[in-house]
């Protein structure tokens, strides 16, 4: 038994070392974001001798961060909400009904995973333009709903299948209509899966730079990711500012992950990947 314990500790320490090395680039980004430029050039690896927040102040001032944050938050929150609403409902029917039609519908809805994103952008811009939604946030939301439909359906169908059908069927027999059944009974039960979906969708949408650039265009505002892409383009060798920008853009999404981590893992574990 003690041999096994020692083995367990060796394993733990090896994994920890790996994890720390794995995080090293992030460490470099963090420490260099709080150093003046000269110090980065001289000693890029050490902790800052001269701690400074000037880089953040400069990055903040140079690209109207408040506006960028606002746009990113509005876009991410509403896109994720829209996607979760649309796909959980569709997934519920696909997971519950039997028959060839629903099988085919499922396969059809998964096809999107295989489509390279560059295909859909330009035709979608045209469609949005015809709908008078180009250069607007609602336009971007609809585009995201279409783009991430497949992946989200994939997460939900697998998860809903693990929930006993007897639950909603008894509610159905009690005379509840399907909307009530879904939102009162099923939706609370699929919370872990929703958490997983929020993390994935949240990070994909928060981090996306190509689509917002073209769909929001010049008039529709910038997101934090397109904003820093824009700002960093101007000073690729001012690494202190680059890293400050990088930190400002990434912190919210890292915090989101750390907050929802438990639910997220639970969602993945209990069936989502069993397909």
């Amino acid at each position: 038994m003690s041999m096994m314990k020692i083995g367990g500790w060796i394993k733990r320490i090896l994994v920890l070392i790996f994890a720390l090395v794995y995080l090293a680039p992030l460490y470099i980004a963090v420490v260099n974001a709080v150093k003046p430029y000269d110090e980065i050039i001289k000693s890029p690896l050490t902790l800052p001798k001269q701690f400074t927040l000037n880089n953040f102040v400069e990055a903040y001032q140079s690209s109207n961060m408040l506006e960028l944050y606002k746009n990113s938050i509005v876009i991410t929150v509403s896109s994720v909400a829209l996607l979760i609403l649309l796909t959980s409902m569709a997934a519920y029917i696909i997971a519950r009904r039997k028959g060839k039609v629903y099988q085919m519908l499922y396969v059809f809805s998964l096809a999107g995973i295989m489509i390279p994103p560059v295909v859909t952008l330009i035709p979608s811009i045209k469609t949005l333009s015809a709908l008078h939604l180009l250069y607007t946030m609602p336009g971007l939301l609809l585009f995201y709903a279409g783009t991430y439909f497949s992946t989200t359906i994939f997460l939900y169908v697998g998860f809903i299948k693990t929930i006993p059908a007897s639950l909603d069927e008894s509610a159905f027999i009690d005379g509840a209509n399907p909307f009530t059944t879904f939102f009162r009974i099923i939706f609370p039960l699929i919370k872990p899966c929703t958490a997983t979906a929020i993390i994935f969708l949240g990070m994909w949408i928060w981090n996306d730079f190509l689509n917002p650039m073209y769909i929001l265009g010049f008039r529709g505002g910038k997101t934090i990711t397109t904003g820093i892409y824009n700002a960093i383009g101007a000073y690729t060798s001012m690494w202190n500012l680059v890293f400050a920008n990088v930190m400002l853009a990434s912190l919210p999404i890292i915090i989101l992950y750390l907050c929802m981590q438990k639910m997220f893992m639970q969602g993945l574990t209990s069936g989502a990947v069993k397909g």
Binding site: L82, Y229, S237
Partner: protein, 418 residues
């Protein structure tokens, strides 16, 4: 939960309707002006033109749009706009030949642009689609202090240039600052050499290339590109593919590299006066003399053929050049050369003045990949030249083979047009 979702749906719908209904009709004629946002020409500058025009002609509303990110090329972005039915009314333009076949551009009338120094520059089949608004010259910026400290003179011949490089290398100073990571900065050196060795001898070469009577793989261009390769391989440091434009500037302005082959917009960097040495300038010498100057005259203003207000647009273009104060602001940012008949004075740095004097009397040739009008490269080949050809040659690929491939690309592009 249900209530929240209903609320959310309602909000999304309302937002959508707002966006749709926001296109309120006004009595004003509204034109959209697509601009190139640059560090020296920020959106505020372009807005000042729009404001000035709206003050001058109150019945018009001018909306400014630009590339959505500094990493997007505005001239490519305009193609996206055209493809999605969002083509602006007036726009900055670099490759009119890419747009002319689809009938997207409005021609300027004969004589309409007579206020320009050379209203005929860049005509396509005798028709002018672009009001050329700037001229930039390419040359070699050098560190005068390093040259003086090592007893080096400004080279007058190509051999002298190599001698300078060799001397600097022996002193462990990086002779030339070049990088290919961004894809375009390396073409400045290649263009100058193509200028001295090919275009200066045969001024209609570009038109002949379009007529397919000459090939890229010809002895003169091979020689020019071999020179370019030699410099990249021997005098430009050991990591060309990892060096960006900003790093090139950094190498030069911190005194690590002695020379920077680049366009005259570098004067704007010199003007910041952050360097601790004096900056000089010379044109890249040819075999016998240093008398050939490569220039860019490939950018200007164009009007959409689909615009509802062609007369307003034409008036706007005229206004751009006529308002001296605004036009000189435009030139001043990048220390450009004006293209109007009337000279437009602005506050120039001494180096910029020096360049203006030095280039008087030189033979001017257009930047190789940016030749205009009937000499312009076919769609895409400009990008092939910057992103493929000059990069591949810089990293040491065989020059003749690369030029052969370029000829093949040309044939494919030509076939695609039919």
């Amino acid at each position: 939960m249900k209530r929240i979702i209903t609320l959310l749906m309602a909000v999304i719908l309302v937002l959508g309707m707002f966006a749709g209904g926001a296109v309120a009709e006004t009595a004003k004629s509204k034109i959209v002006f697509c601009v190139n946002i640059q560090p020296q020409l920020p959106v505020e500058y372009w807005q000042s033109i729009a404001d000035a025009y709206m003050a001058y002609n109150p019945s018009v509303e001018v909306e400014i749009i630009g590339q959505p990110s500094s990493n997007v090329d505005v001239f490519q972005y305009e193609k996206t706009l055209l493809a999605t039915g969002q083509f602006p009314d007036v726009m900055v333009m670099q490759n009119p030949a890419d747009f002319v076949p689809s009938g997207a551009l409005l021609a300027f009338d004969e004589g309409e642009l007579d206020y320009l120094l050379d209203p005929n520059i860049g005509k396509i089949d005798g028709v002018q689609y672009v009001a050329n608004y700037k001229k930039q010259v390419i040359g070699v910026f050098y560190n005068k202090d390093i040259f003086a400290a090592n007893g080096l003179e400004v080279p007058q011949t190509y051999q002298a240039f190599l001698d300078v490089c060799e001397a600097l290398k022996a002193k462990e100073i990086l002779p030339v600052s070049i990088g290919i990571k961004d894809g375009w900065p390396q073409i400045m050196l290649a263009n100058m050499l193509a200028g001295t060795d090919l275009l200066a001898n045969d001024t209609s070469w570009g038109i002949q290339r379009n007529a397919d009577t000459v090939k890229f793989n010809n002895p003169q261009l091979v020689k020019a590109m071999e020179k370019y390769q030699y410099i990249c391989q021997n005098y430009a440091g050991d990591s060309l593919p990892s060096i960006t434009y900003t790093q090139m500037l950094e190498q030069f302005f911190t005194g690590k590299a002695a020379m920077l082959p680049m366009g005259s917009w570098v004067n704007a960097e010199v003007a910041k006066a952050e360097q601790e040495f004096e900056v000089g300038w010379f044109p890249m010498p040819g075999d016998d003399n240093a008398n050939v100057l490569s220039v860019f005259v490939n950018e200007g203003l164009s009007i959409s053929a689909m615009t509802k207000y062609p007369d307003v647009c034409k008036d706007f273009v005229k206004f751009f050049f006529a308002d001296k104060a605004l036009y000189s602001d435009f030139l001043k940012g990048e220390q450009l050369f004006s293209t109007t008949k009337e000279s437009v004075p602005y506050e120039m740095i001494p180096l910029r003045k020096y360049i203006e004097e030095a280039i008087a009397g030189m033979q001017e040739v257009e930047g190789f990949e940016s030749m205009t009008g009937d000499a312009a490269f076919l769609p895409g080949l400009k990008d092939y030249y910057t992103n493929k050809l000059t990069q591949n040659i810089a990293i040491g690929n065989d020059v003749a083979t690369e030029l052969d491939n370029f000829d093949k690309e040309w044939d494919i592009a030509k076939e695609a047009l039919n």
